[in-house]
């Protein structure tokens, strides 16, 4: 059984139906990507998974549990952690405090210190910025903080919403490298991207979303070869 199972969810903003029956399945240990144009409903999907929105219909199952009744902080504590769109780091807190907040669900002080050390090895740039207020960092560094913060929560599955947004091509390259590294350490990744080419090229499985519906799905290479995907997203 898949680690995360989204089963025919319908999500509304007031009267507007943003998700019109979305189903996805994310196998443990994989990189799964959800691509689609602006306003397709990708962020809405992740927000529903994280418990920030509740589907009016359908169910989301994670590790054998139905998430319906849980709040966002409980879902995070279960190991389903999101790096939200636009990073949303705590700009007035120091980098170190941001990491500490990522570890809010963790109680073992020594293990937190070790995790922090692992993150500073993964992102050496952050080590020299630990005492700096996070809002003063560059976009690329802020993405590092956002990713490291989420990793401090020891996720079993990481949900990433457009991590490459607003970054230079070189930084984008690095972000995808990081995603591969994190996945290689055993963390399942659900990656939302507008950059379909890059996302599909590192994904085991891909879903294509349009106007609140999944219109295509398949393995990463399959979708990269698909005529419709090429025409719509790869130019």
């Amino acid at each position: 059984m898949a680690l995360l199972e989204i089963d025919d969810i319908h999500v509304f903003y007031d009267k507007i139906e943003a998700l019109k029956g979305v189903s996805m399945s994310v196998e443990e240990g994989r990189i799964v990507t959800l691509v689609g144009g602006n306003g397709a409903g990708k962020s809405t999907t992740l927000r529903a998974v994280s418990g920030l929105l509740h589907p009016r219909q359908g169910a989301i199952r994670y590790a054998g549990e139905t998430l319906g009744q849980y709040g966002a902080h409980e879902i995070a504590a279960m190991g389903l952690v999101q790096v939200p769109e636009g990073r949303r780091i705590f700009g007035r807190l120091t980098v170190n405090e941001n990491l500490e907040m990522g570890a809010f669900t963790q109680k073992n002080r020594q293990q937190i210190a070790e995790d922090r050390e692992r993150m500073l090895t993964l992102f050496p740039r952050l080590r020299e910025r630990l005492r700096q207020v996070a809002g003063t960092l560059s976009g690329g560094e802020q993405q590092m903080v956002a990713t490291a913060r989420a990793m401090m929560a020891r996720p079993r599955a990481l949900l990433m919403d457009e991590p490459s947004m607003g970054l230079s091509p070189m930084m984008v390259e690095q972000v995808f490298e990081t995603i591969r590294t994190i996945n290689a350490q055993g963390v399942t990744v659900l990656l939302v991207e507008q950059n379909a080419l890059l996302a599909l090229s590192i994904a085991d499985t891909g879903y294509v979303m349009e106007s609140g519906r999944i219109v295509l799905s398949g393995s990463g290479p399959e979708l990269l070869d698909d005529e419709r995907v090429r025409r719509a997203y790869l130019g």
Binding site: A72, H73, Q82, P84, G86, R88, F90, R92, M101, T105
Partner: protein
């Protein structure tokens, strides 16, 4: 096209009035100050009295302002009932103080009695603060518009009228132990003990609060929630718990402030929280609402202006009994801040753009 000209013209007219207001107040302040100093009707000792009182009342405003600013930080709600939370602390402290007074403990064991009074006050105000959050504010959490503020005003009335119902509308005088009436003499100047006690303890408690907010996990979580509650929830932070924690901290400071305020003015009554509450809210705005150092700074600043200002600004221009005009000065300052610098001294603009 015509709409643009219209707004431009209207803007100019308002601008002129604002400038006149600015210049008028500035003139009164400058001329009044000079005239007062030239007349020199007041002695150094008298000025020192004003300054000491300013610091004392300022430290109380600062503590109350912290409650407003922290709750505003996490909820974007002006907790209109916060002044009444102060009142509940003062009342609880009154009953403890009266009890200690009757048993003679207030005179014979000042430290123990004071600790007991503060403890009772703080427990009461904190419980009531947390209860108001749970019962009155939480259901309004996701409601937009004015409803939450109106609910807060309702809570304010509810607390006032409840205390009036329970304990009557008469003014009760706080016990006045001899050790508080005495004064220290430094270089021949009298410094009332009550001032030293209030300022000293206020500084200690505010330093403690600052440590909690800056150094502990819950304090950091509070700052995180203030900045982005949703992102905090995504990190596993229970936002409700953080909000309760915030109301607790505010309640603790309110209880202490209530006791001090009552010891200073030597009385309690059901409506006593209103004026210090609204002034402390002003102090929080003055310092930049949402900013903790701002609230402390704003409190002391308002206390100083209110205490030294009337005599300094108004005596020189021949206004009799200027000290009666303390509240006028205080509220003029607040209105001026709201007009000319709504984001306060340390604050950012309220509508901050999110990246």
């Amino acid at each position: 096209m015509s709409a643009t000209t219209l707004t431009l013209r209207r803007f100019n007219a308002v601008d002129v009035i604002l400038w006149l207001l600015r210049i008028g107040v500035l003139l009164i302040v400058v001329i009044g100050t000079l005239a007062t100093l030239i007349k020199a009707r007041y002695t150094i000792a008298q000025w020192l009295d004003f300054v000491m009182f300013g610091l004392t009342i300022g430290s109380i405003y600062a503590q109350i302002a912290l409650g407003y600013t922290m709750v505003y930080g996490v909820l974007r709600l002006i907790n209109f009932a916060h002044g009444d939370i102060v009142m509940t602390g003062a009342f609880a402290g009154y009953f403890a103080a009266a009890g200690f007074d009757r048993s003679g403990l207030l005179e014979s064991r000042p430290v123990l009695a004071m600790a007991g009074i503060l403890l009772v006050a703080v427990l009461t105000s904190t419980c009531i603060a947390v209860l108001t959050e749970r019962i009155a504010y939480r259901p309004f959490r996701r409601v937009q518009g004015l409803a939450p503020l109106i609910c807060a005003i309702g809570v304010s009335f509810f607390l006032e009228q409840t205390f009036r119902g329970l304990f009557g509308s008469s003014v009760k005088s706080y016990p006045d132990p001899s050790w508080l009436r005495a004064a220290f003499v430094v270089f021949g100047f009298r410094i009332p003990r009550v001032d030293v006690l209030v300022i000293g303890l206020a500084l200690v408690f505010m330093a403690l609060l600052y440590m909690v907010v800056q150094r502990t996990r819950m304090g950091t979580a509070m700052r995180a929630v203030a900045e982005d509650a949703e992102a905090a929830a995504l990190m596993g932070i229970d936002v409700n718990r953080v909000i309760v924690f915030t109301f607790m901290l505010g309640g603790v400071m309110a209880g202490i402030a209530g006791v001090f305020y009552a010891f200073l003015y030597k009385q309690v009554y059901f409506f006593m929280g209103f004026t210090p509450g609204i002034k402390a809210f002003g102090a929080a705005v003055l310092g930049g609402i949402g900013s903790i150092p701002g609230a402390m700074l704003g409190g002391f600043f308002l206390g100083m202006v209110e205490s030294v200002g009337p005599t300094l600004f108004l005596d020189g221009i021949g206004i009799p009994a200027p000290y009666q005009l303390r509240d006028l000065i205080a509220f003029t300052l607040l209105i001026m801040v709201l007009i000319f610098r709504p984001q306060g001294i340390l604050g950012e603009r309220m509508a901050r753009k999110r990246a």
